[in-house]
């Protein structure tokens, strides 16, 4: 920097005549929308943590068999209603590594149930990458390896065992397969229906709009659960678990679309008047193209955020239906099916661990809520 005689400052750096004047000072100033959204989302701690948690949960689904010490319907007939077992590291003062104490069932003839006596003299180390009953990795690769399992002669029920002596922990991790995907399938159905009806109503207006609007109003004014119940009651009882699962997810999605359709419609009503839509129409674009290429990308992100927020309702819906015995049925394993066992006060009082599946439900639902909130807040990167 040097000063000219008349007091002006001049940069000493040599002038480059080829410099691009339209280039911006910082390369990230014209970052794409998604980059900006991500940047803002990263600051939303709770949302970020929830997102990572959910991602990991979904990625772990194919490995459910690997992470659980037993298969979902494997029964240990000698260990009915076994209370949760602790994994210990120290035996007295001696460090052994992860181990369990073996337990033995003793009939309690006063209360007519089994009680379990822990033998604290014999620590039995857990086995890792051990071979047990066969299961299917990714649903089709047969495998016998498990991350950890109980040593011979002992059991490992981290969350206890249920009425039939099945390991609650393993069942929770198997149950995640159905409980977590039910929401995804449901939201896909609801998304497709909502966008289709919402965009048709908003784009064409007139009679179409009126009809769709009345349909939305009617569906929204009806209580969901009784309708879910009625629809699920119509599912033939001789269908296999897989078909029942799909039909239940579709039923959950079938009643969820009106909210989304309403949002899409009101957006369309205002966006339809924009110049670029007029321009596209003038150039001969068909309605389908205008909707898909010009209008929808405008608020896809908002739709994703609101979809994230409605997944929890579906997860809870599946749980409620299965709990009432109208949703998924044994031998299918979902968190709702498991809670069906915890239906009465007696089991909550005597075997409180049968209600443990409620924890993953609460955690997942909370995570979806936080993630949705975070997404919603960060979708408008230019605001705030």
């Amino acid at each position: 920097m040097s000063t000219l005689p008349d007091g002006r400052y001049v940069d000493d750096a040599p002038y480059d005549p080829n410099i691009d004047l339209s280039a911006i000072d910082r390369s990230d100033m014209d970052a794409s929308n998604w980059v900006l959204v991500w940047r803002k989302f990263k600051r939303h701690r709770l949302g970020l943590v929830s997102g990572i948690f959910l991602l990991m949960a979904y990625l772990a689904i194919p490995f459910a068999g690997f992470f659980s010490p037993y298969t979902a319907n494997e029964r240990s007939a000698d260990y009915l209603y076994h209370p949760p077992q602790a994994i210990n590291f120290w035996h007295g003062d001696e460090f052994i590594g992860p181990f369990v104490y073996p337990t033995e069932a003793v009939a309690d003839l006063e209360n007519f149930r089994w009680t379990y006596i822990t033998d604290e003299t014999r620590p039995m180390p857990l086995q890792f990458f051990c071979k047990r009953t066969e299961y299917n990795l990714f649903g089709f690769i047969p495998s016998e390896r498990r991350l950890f399992c109980a040593p011979e002669g002992a059991t490992i029920f981290i969350f206890g065992s249920d009425r039939l002596g099945r390991d609650v922990f393993s069942r929770i991790s198997y149950g995640a397969q159905l409980s977590l995907t039910v929401g995804l399938i449901g939201i896909t159905v609801s998304f497709l229906l909502g966008i289709t009806f919402g965009s048709i109503a908003g784009y064409f207006g007139g009679v179409t709009d009126w009809v769709v609007n009345r349909a939305i109003e009617i569906l929204r004014s009806l209580p969901e659960l009784p309708l879910w119940l009625a629809l699920s009651a119509a599912v033939p009882s001789n269908w296999g678990p897989v078909s029942v699962f799909f039909i239940i997810s579709i039923i959950l999605g079938l009643l969820d679309w009106p909210g989304l359709a309403r949002a899409v419609r009101s957006k369309f009503l205002s966006l339809r008047e924009e110049e670029y839509v007029r321009a596209a129409e003038m150039m001969g674009a068909k309605p389908g193209r205008v909707i898909r290429r010009h209008l929808l990308p405008n608020f896809m992100s908002h739709l994703i955020a609101s979809a994230t927020l409605s997944i929890p309702a579906m997860i809870l819906g599946e749980t409620a239906l299965s709990f009432l015995g109208l949703g998924l049925r044994a031998p299918a394993v979902s968190w709702g099916v498991m809670l069906n066992d915890a239906q009465n006060l007696a089991s909550i009082e005597i075997y409180p661990w049968t209600a443990i599946p409620m924890l993953p439900i609460i955690i997942v639902v909370l995570a979806f809520n936080f993630l949705g909130d975070g997404l919603r807040d960060s979708l408008d990167p230019y605001k705030g």
Binding site: S221, L222, L324, I348, E349, N369
Partner: protein, 342 residues
């Protein structure tokens, strides 16, 4: 005058909606193949009980189940003559429950009023809880008050209703001595209203109300907080603060009123959710509302009972929504009559 016209219009739309809903419900109920009686006839034939078959066949004709579906629908609603002339929902004849072998009206009976009662109590609970907490959370935003209410709210949204019901029942009984199950002590059932009966019902209502209302209250609280925060950031609030208005007075004078509108409008969303919740919770807790009847009816294809219960539940929400719409118009003159899209 304008209001009366709007109310009339709103009432008519409700009736039309109800008509469409009745069709929808009829279709859903008839989705499963066969009906209660034909299943029963098949079962009786298989076990070779001839006289039972005759009775079931008679009932089938009596309730027009042998006619085509569209005719059945019209008869059920009461706009077409059935075997006994016009006797459908419109005439106040709700049909026959095959599962319980009694008229539907006798089976639901008291349950209808108890359903209304439970839902009213829950709505009241939602307002009583959500209003102060939502306002407080907004006024003290980003303090521990805000975070605590938000946390409780989220937890309320995330816990499955039925589990909350079981837990509260268990712990409520263990530590507070609250009664378990039902809506009144057994000795009052079928008794005429008396002071003791009312007291018994009220005590029994505590847990169900709390359970049904929690998720609704949580949602409402969040929305109220968001609305309040929007209002609080407006210039007039700053002006009022600068002029030295006390915080309480400032809060209640304007922002609260503004934030209150969506509060009333929200009942349209709130009510269906509450009714859903009450059905589920009633089943779990064994309340004598129409929830358990619905579940039994659906499981055994008892179509008249299921149809009536679903219709009643729909009617309940539709009336609630209508009332909220009317209230909203009374509350906020800026809302134009007839134009309800915003």
């Amino acid at each position: 005058m304008m209001f009366l016209r709007y109310a009339g219009y709103r009432f008519l739309t409700m009736l039309l909606t109800l008509a469409v809903v009745s069709l929808l419900i009829f279709v859903i109920i008839n989705l499963p193949p066969g009906d209660y009686l034909s299943n029963q006839i098949a079962e009786l034939r298989a076990t070779g009980q001839a006289e039972g078959v005759a009775k079931a066949e008679f009932l089938r004709q009596e309730y027009a189940l042998d006619r085509p579906l569209w005719e059945q629908y019209l008869i059920w609603v009461g706009v077409a003559p059935g075997p006994q002339g016009f006797s459908g929902l419109l005439q106040g004849d709700f049909g026959w429950s095959f599962e319980f072998d009694a008229p539907v009206a006798d089976i639901v009976g008291d349950a209808l009023w108890l359903t209304v009662l439970v839902n009213l109590a829950a709505v009241l609970f939602v307002y009583l809880v959500a209003l102060p907490l939502g306002v407080l959370a907004a006024a003290r935003s980003a303090t521990w008050v805000d975070y605590t209410t938000a946390f409780i709210g989220y937890l309320g949204l995330a816990t499955p209703n039925f589990l909350l019901a079981l837990m509260l029942f268990y712990y409520g009984h263990k530590y507070l001595g609250l009664p378990i199950g039902g809506l009144m002590s057994p000795e009052f059932e079928g008794e005429p209203m008396s002071f003791d009966k009312v007291k018994s019902i009220l005590v029994h209502l505590i847990v169900p109300t709390f359970v049904i209302g929690t998720s609704g209250a949580a949602g409402m609280m969040q929305r109220l907080r968001a609305n309040m925060l929007d209002e609080l950031s407006k210039p007039y609030v700053e002006t009022a603060t600068a002029k030295g208005l006390s915080p309480t007075r400032l809060l209640t004078k304007y922002p609260l009123r503004m934030a209150f509108n969506p509060f009333v409008a929200d009942i349209g969303n709130l009510l269906p959710a509450m009714v859903s919740g009450s059905v589920l919770v009633s089943v779990v807790l064994g309340l004598q509302t129409i929830g358990p009847a619905l579940l039994t009816a659906l499981k055994s294809q008892d179509q008249f009972l299921a149809g009536f219960v679903l219709m009643f539940v729909a009617l309940l929400t539709l009336i609630g929504t209508m009332i909220s719409d009317l209230l909203l118009v009374l509350l906020d003159p800026r809302i134009r009559y007839g134009a309800r899209e915003g």
